[in-house]
């Protein structure tokens, strides 16, 4: 018996250390989730209770006022949701096409200019022109100010994703497949879309998820380029209501909702309700997709 426990010690921690390790990891995990729980509870708290007691995980009085107000006066919320979804879908599609085509071409050994184009992408990882020239090109030269393209295009291509995909193509796709496609008389695009894309789906899914997250969480481009309230995405809308819910009401199409609604609106709780509604989809979805996000970084960082 004694020898058994002793040999076990080599494999495992002692029970005491196991408890300590569990505590460390558990407490930190809790700390990571706690703020979201708190914000959720705040959004379900009665506004008057909030004014009296402040933010608390165990409010004296619960209420769903915030959500019912948002359903009444929240067409800005719906519009912003629409903008975010549109930008995310279109942006991710464009990004996948641009990145995978480029990465595939520079992964092909027969491509005469692959070194040149590899360097073209790689150099942007080392050096960039900075915010101001980018801003001037986007607004003055391309004239994208106040348009959805200003939310889509700046995030569409990323040299790091290209490098991840290139590594993926050159390690996972055997040359024989391309050769067999050529023998069958398929063109380069035919080979790419019919033979390569199905094989590259795991890699493409990783890049797609990174893109979806990037677009969904983007507020910076909206901060720079968007003033029209109709084009404000979710995250940017949350920024605008930080100090006042006025933005929501000023842009409400519902004219019958006048100043009375603004006065009676549960400001603090509905703000937090917006945070919950904007974060909800991500919080619900990420546990199922998290492994792809780990994969993405390790595919890029691990050498053959």
């Amino acid at each position: 018996m004694a020898s058994l426990t002793k040999s076990k010690d080599f494999h495992r921690l002692t029970p005491a250390w196991n408890v300590i390790f569990n505590l460390i990891a558990g407490l930190f995990a809790l700390a990571c989730v706690f703020p979201f729980l708190l914000v959720m509870v705040i959004s379900f708290t009665d506004e008057k209770t909030l004014a009296q007691d402040g933010y608390s995980l165990f409010p004296n009085k619960w209420s769903t006022d915030a959500y019912s107000y948002l359903f009444k006066a929240g067409d800005q919320l719906l519009r912003s949701y629409g903008v975010t979804i549109l930008v995310t879908v279109v942006g991710t599609a464009i990004s996948l096409i641009f990145i995978s085509l480029f990465a595939y071409a520079i992964s092909r050994k027969g491509f005469k200019y692959r070194k040149f184009f590899s360097f073209l992408a790689f150099f942007t990882m080392l050096f960039n022109g900075g915010l101001v020239p980018s801003y001037i090109v986007t607004t003055k030269l391309l004239g994208l100010g106040n348009s959805l393209w200003a939310l889509i295009l700046p995030l569409a291509v990323n040299a790091f994703y290209i490098m991840i995909m290139r590594t993926f193509f050159s390690t996972m796709i055997p040359d024989a497949i391309i050769e067999s496609g050529k023998i069958d008389g398929a063109g380069e695009f035919g080979i790419f879309f019919r033979l390569i894309v199905p094989l590259a789906l795991p890699g493409l899914a990783t890049i797609a998820l990174f893109n979806v997250l990037g677009y969904w969480n983007d507020w910076f481009n909206a901060l720079l380029y968007i003033e029209n309230p109709d084009l404000v995405p979710l995250q940017s809308m949350l920024m605008r209501i930080e100090n006042s819910m006025q933005f929501i009401l000023a842009n409400s199409n519902n004219a019958s909702l006048g100043t009375s609604v603004l006065q009676s609106m549960p400001q603090d709780t509905s703000r937090m309700a917006m945070v919950v509604l904007a974060t909800g989809p991500i919080v619900l979805a990420y546990p199922f997709f998290q492994r792809y996000f780990v994969q993405g970084l390790t595919v890029g960082a691990v050498k053959e």
């Binding site: 990891a25 980018s134 380069e188 998290q290």
Partner: protein
């Protein structure tokens, strides 16, 4: 990173060699010209494939690089992009001289560097430690739950994090002031007290990034060959000795690569952290202004385009030198750990 290293080590010299040979062979210009078109023609499909992203790179990467010439000019809007740049007066290094004569240049450089150094060191130590903790927990299902929990902040935007922080630091409603009151101290106006912010910034950064980084290291730990541990056990190594002599050395390459990436970006700050989480509070600028927020304010609020561009170029240039240097140093010690 293998692609990059292969590119620099093998392909670049080859390409240069090929270019040299081409120069020697070029006896008949017409023939070279004809061959050029033949090459284009032979690669036309692949060239079409790189075209969309290449156009993107031109507009969103390379034209802005050319646009940094603004930092040597007194920028005036004069029609479109190109004519504005051409018609702006050339002032040489005046923008840089002016930038470095202000205290701002010192403050933003100091803040950017110090925060990043602290982030890199504490971040590395805690991420590796947490990864080891997660990997050693006996109940694997429980460990998986912890891992999922600490991964959450990675998926949230800085705007959301800003709200989270506000629910703690709000003067009249926040959780922090309640705690402070419970301990019999005076409530604080957190958003106008610079002395607390270096700590708040570091804590919020670690809160957001630690989960992700430890999961990345955890993935690497899972990939370590189990026979190494068995060999260590046969040699009589206990758990701690195994961690020190097997796990840590096996993680060293990944630690080097990730730290190197971070050092390369040491001149870049996370704009969201310093802008959203601080609620852009002016009284905090002395401890929260970094190069990125300075450039942004120069562009959008104070309108000092020339100086703002100069600060941006200063950032890109020093950042570039740092990546190249740190990579060169690592390559001298261990080629495999270098980025390229």
């Amino acid at each position: 990173m293998d692609g990059i290293s292969r590119f620099i080590l093998d392909e670049l010299p080859q390409a240069l060699g090929a270019a040299n040979r081409l120069r020697l062979e070029r006896v008949n210009p017409m023939k070279a010209f004809g061959r050029f078109f033949k090459d284009i023609n032979r690669n036309i499909a692949l060239l079409l494939m790189v075209l969309p992203a290449t156009i993107w790179f031109i507009f969103f990467s390379y034209l802005p690089m050319l646009g940094t010439v603004i930092s040597f000019k007194e920028y005036r809007v004069h029609g479109g992009f190109l004519s504005s740049i051409i018609h702006s007066r050339w002032v040489g290094f005046d923008n840089f001289k002016f930038l470095f004569s202000t205290e701002d240049a010192y403050v933003i450089t100091r803040n950017t560097l110090l925060y990043n150094i602290v982030f890199i060191i504490i971040g590395l130590v805690l991420a590796v430690a947490m990864a080891i903790v997660l990997s050693e927990i006996a109940n694997k299902r429980l460990a998986k739950w912890f891992q999922t929990g600490m991964f959450l902040p990675y998926f949230l935007s800085w705007v959301i994090v800003g709200y989270f922080v506000y629910s703690f630091l709000s003067y009249d409603r926040g959780v922090m002031n309640k705690i402070v009151l419970a301990f019999g101290m005076d409530p604080q106006q957190w958003y106008s007290e610079p002395k607390y912010w270096p700590f708040i910034i570091v804590i919020v950064f670690l809160w957001k990034s630690l989960g992700y980084n430890s999961v990345v290291y955890l993935a690497a730990i899972m990939g370590i060959d189990k026979s190494l541990y068995e060999a260590a056990m046969i040699d009589g190594a206990n758990k701690w000795q195994q961690i020190r002599n097997v796990t840590l050395p096996m993680l060293a390459p990944l630690m080097t690569i990730l730290t190197l990436l971070a050092i390369g970006r040491i001149f870049y700050a996370d704009f969201g952290l310093f802008y959203q989480v601080t609620r852009d509070s002016g009284t905090l600028y002395n401890v929260t202004n970094v190069i990125d927020t300075y450039v942004y304010r120069g562009l959008k609020t104070t309108g000092e385009i020339g100086m703002s561009t100069a600060a941006g170029l200063y950032q890109s240039f020093v950042g570039f030198v740092l990546v190249i240097t740190s990579n060169w140093i690592v390559r001298r010690f261990n080629k495999d750990n270098a980025l390229f």
